[in-house]
């Protein structure tokens, strides 16, 4: 009886050791949005010359970066707001590819959010009026997950729609399998 009792106490102690709740799964549908991404008018410091230290990360990065629900919402918005039109499914087309790791205007989540909010030359529209901050940051989280920057397992493996790449079975033998950007 005693050894069984000791074993159960051990198990209880281990169970009680509640680790910090894993925030990767946190649903945070906040009532109030936190302040503006970019003060109106000021252009974001996207390029940091050599020695100057990059500005501190926005407070919301922790909430959105690598958060499964934000990435999920961003994925739906990416389809609904027709980002696919220019960027296709991340492979690029009229717009630059988002799956690689070259970021003209900065690859951090707040920089991507700023790019989406204020728009960029050569055709990137400003979404500040059309999308709320919440949605912009969800999109930014999804765009970062496209290039696998945060850990892979927060992003979902596919959408419920048509799969992005052309089926391998249509490409005759020998040709390497590549994303449809190269196909067009």
């Amino acid at each position: 009886m005693s050894s069984r009792f000791r074993a159960s106490v051990l198990i209880l102690a281990a169970g009680a050791l509640t680790l910090t709740s894993c925030d990767r799964e946190e649903h945070h549908s906040r009532a109030k949005p936190i302040g503006e991404t970019v003060p109106a008018g000021a252009s974001p410091p996207t390029i940091f010359p050599g020695n100057s230290t990059p500005p501190p990360l926005d407070a919301r990065a922790a909430l959105y970066d690598n958060n499964a629900n934000a990435i999920g919402k961003g994925q739906q918005l990416f389809l609904q707001m027709n980002c696919v039109g220019c960027h296709s499914h991340g492979g690029g087309g009229m717009g630059p590819p988002l799956m690689d790791d070259e970021w003209r205007y900065g690859g951090r989540i707040d920089q991507i959010a700023t790019t989406i909010a204020v728009g960029r030359p050569n055709g990137m529209p400003a979404w500040r009026d059309k999308l709320t901050d919440d949605q912009i940051w969800d999109l930014a989280a999804y765009v970062r997950s496209l290039s696998g920057l945060p850990s892979k397992d927060a992003a979902s493996s596919r959408t419920e729609g048509m799969s992005a790449g052309t089926p391998q079975t249509l490409t005759p033998h020998g040709e390497t399998y590549n994303s449809d950007a190269a196909q067009q």
Binding site: R158, S163, G165, P167, Q168, T169, L170
Partner: protein
């Protein structure tokens, strides 16, 4: 007040092992074969359920899997039944030298089959992410590959065991007998899977 025992008869000369349904491990192996059979049966049902939706199977424009690797696999696994039957009879007869001779052959055949299976995965002409057709074909092939792998690992361990003095114990002959029975089950399952992967898309 436990009841006093009334001794009826003495069983001390009962054997400690018999082949076939008298042995416990025979029933255990049968149980796991039925479990895997139920699993494979439902995988077949899923295959035909998904196929039922389509006008064409595979879906329009997809190339069916190439025949070479799969057919080669079928031929070799059917041929492997010959040494398998010899081992089974030797196990029943307790002929340990023959078992020690042929088990390494079965291990070698297993290696060859696993290599061919690698080529088969390559000749499916589809990636599992393409569509449900590709997913279910890859699933069937992967399930059977794991089936081959587990039985091959079992044969390797058994082969090592038969090279120890314990090989002369009747229980171990029972293990060899049941392993051969399981190998028969493996290639019997391959026949419907082979037809579903390679020939049904060509109908």
């Amino acid at each position: 007040m436990i009841l006093e025992p009334r001794f009826t008869d003495d069983l001390s000369d009962l054997p400690t092992f018999k082949f076939g349904p008298s042995s416990l491990t025979w029933w255990g192996v049968l149980g796991f074969m039925v479990i895997e059979g139920a699993g494979f049966g439902l995988a077949f049902a899923a295959y035909f359920f998904l196929m039922g939706h389509e006008q064409g199977w595979p879906p329009e424009g997809r190339l069916p899997p190439d025949l070479l690797a799969g057919t080669l696999f079928l031929v070799i696994i059917l041929l492997s039944e010959i040494p398998n039957t010899v081992i089974k009879r030797a196990a029943k007869a307790g002929d340990v030298p023959t078992i020690r001779l042929l088990l390494p052959l079965m291990v070698a055949v297993g290696v060859v089959l696993l290599i061919i299976r690698g080529f088969e995965f390559n000749s499916l002409n589809c990636r599992w992410t393409d569509d449900a057709y590709a997913s279910i074909i890859w699933a069937l092939l992967l399930l059977h590959a794991s089936h081959i792998l587990t039985d091959w690992l079992d044969t390797v361990v058994l082969c090592a065991l038969m090279y120890t003095p314990v090989a002369y114990e009747p229980r171990r002959w029972g293990d060899v007998d049941e392993n051969s029975m399981y190998w028969r089950y493996v290639w019997m399952l391959w026949i419907p899977i082979y037809l579903m992967i390679y020939w049904v898309p060509r109908l």
